[in-house]
């Protein structure tokens, strides 16, 4: 096992931990806003760790740049959709009982 393998394993484990935390939050948090918070924040960090691991495993700068772009757009999409969903959730709460 080389140092790269070790680093990739560690990064993947960290990513998995954050994904698990985000999923637990999604399932256990009481309302829409905090669930969104768990999903977008924890999962994006998790994706970041997995992306780092993938880039390291590949060992090429061009591929790393592509993976970084993927991560960036994933964050952007998550932020935008979380905003929109939170707005709808708040409206639903306002209209509801």
């Amino acid at each position: 096992m080389t140092w790269t393998d070790l680093a990739v394993t560690l990064l993947l484990s960290a990513g998995l931990f954050f994904y698990a935390a985000g999923t637990v939050g999604l399932l256990r948090f009481p309302d829409a806003a905090s669930r969104l918070h768990a999903l977008t924040k924890a999962d994006n960090v998790g994706l970041g760790f997995v992306a780092l691991a993938a880039a390291l495993q590949w060992g090429s700068l061009v591929v790393a740049a592509k993976i970084a772009a993927v991560w960036l757009f994933a964050i952007l999409a998550a932020g935008t959709s979380a905003q929109l969903m939170a707005r709808v959730a708040r409206q639903d709460d306002g209209d509801g009982p």
């Binding site: 757009f73 952007l76 999409a77 935008t80 905003q83 929109l84 707005r87 709808v88 409206q91």
Partner: protein, 314 residues
């Protein structure tokens, strides 16, 4: 290890399909359908079919999911209930029995066929002649170009059929606007769409270009383009065109027409849809770029739906 992964993947595919089919709430069903599509994409990746994985995730999960969500909200706006009561027990039992029997037959048929890539060496042997490295693009654009040409006309025909469903007096107005009603949400979606439309253009061009040698191609690129158009339309960054706009008409037919023209030119020099030696790659890339643009516009308008009377917003 691989076997375990694939087994878990298959169980998850079947599980999400069950939820998408039989859950009571339709929005949940659509969400699970999109997850199902993405898992299928993973299955294609596990098989090494990256081209199909891209198409499945972009078209099967993405565009189909958007279509279902939009139709659901349109039906809800019309006051229609989508949740349907459970079917009669005897019908459910009968359907389950019949479908299990059918599945068993199908599984027996599947097991009687030995999986194998018999045609891969054949295709590989032919690839140097057209100068591409991605065998799937080779099959789509050269060896089975006939299929792909007809498919591009099928897409166009589907759009014509969708347009023919326009209510009286609506022709040739634009479709129901996709822009979000809530001003704050429109603001958020607008900045996202304005940022993503140019990115989608670059991404689509890249996918088509790289599709000659590595996974990608006209359909994947065109779908990314359609996604960019739709996001921009939802954010109000672009409006939807009237159905009789001549520029729109040209954008829709350009791809199939260029494909057909090059095919007919091939017929003049030899065989229909045969590319002269040495020009194959240039012709294929030309067709693919025009085709990807037309596919992007067609898919976006397919999602937007038929022309609607002015003032019938969502």
């Amino acid at each position: 290890m691989t076997a375990t992964f694939e087994l878990i993947l298959c169980v998850m595919i079947l599980g999400t399909a069950c939820v998408a089919l039989f859950v009571r709430d339709f929005l949940t069903a659509i969400a699970f359908f999109v997850v199902f599509g993405n898992l299928l994409g993973l299955a294609w990746l596990a098989m090494g079919a990256v081209n199909v994985a891209l198409a499945e995730i972009a078209i099967g999960a993405g565009v189909t999911g958007v279509l279902l969500v939009l139709t659901r909200s349109r039906l809800l706006a019309l006051g229609e209930e989508i949740a349907c009561g459970p079917a009669r027990p005897w019908l459910r039992l009968g359907a389950a029995a019949a479908c299990s029997a059918f599945t068993t037959l199908l599984a027996a048929a599947v097991l009687s066929i030995a999986p194998g890539d018999d045609l891969a060496p054949v295709v590989d042997g032919l690839m140097p002649r057209i100068g591409l490295d991605n065998p799937v693009t080779g099959v789509l654009m050269a060896f089975r170009a006939y299929d792909t040409l007809l498919e591009s006309f099928v897409l166009l025909g589907a759009l014509v059929a969708v347009w023919s469903l326009a209510p009286p007096a609506a022709w040739p107005q634009p479709p129901v606007a996709l822009r979000m009603a809530d001003p704050a949400a429109l603001n958020v979606a607008g900045s996202f769409g304005r940022l993503l439309l140019p990115v989608a253009l670059v991404m689509a061009a890249y996918l088509v270009w790289v599709g000659s040698d590595r996974p990608g191609g006209a359909f994947q690129g065109g779908t990314v383009l359609a996604g960019g158009f739709l996001l921009a339309a939802m954010g109000g960054a672009i409006g939807l065109p009237r159905s009789d706009d001549p520029r729109l008409r040209w954008a829709l037919v350009a791809g199939p027409l260029v494909f057909l023209a090059i095919g007919l030119a091939g017929a003049a020099t030899g065989r229909f849809l045969a590319y002269p030696d040495g020009t194959a790659k240039a012709l294929i890339v030309t067709i693919e770029y025009v085709l990807a643009f037309s596919i992007g516009v067609t898919l976006a308008l397919l999602v937007a739906g038929p022309p609607a009377r002015a003032g019938t917003g969502p």
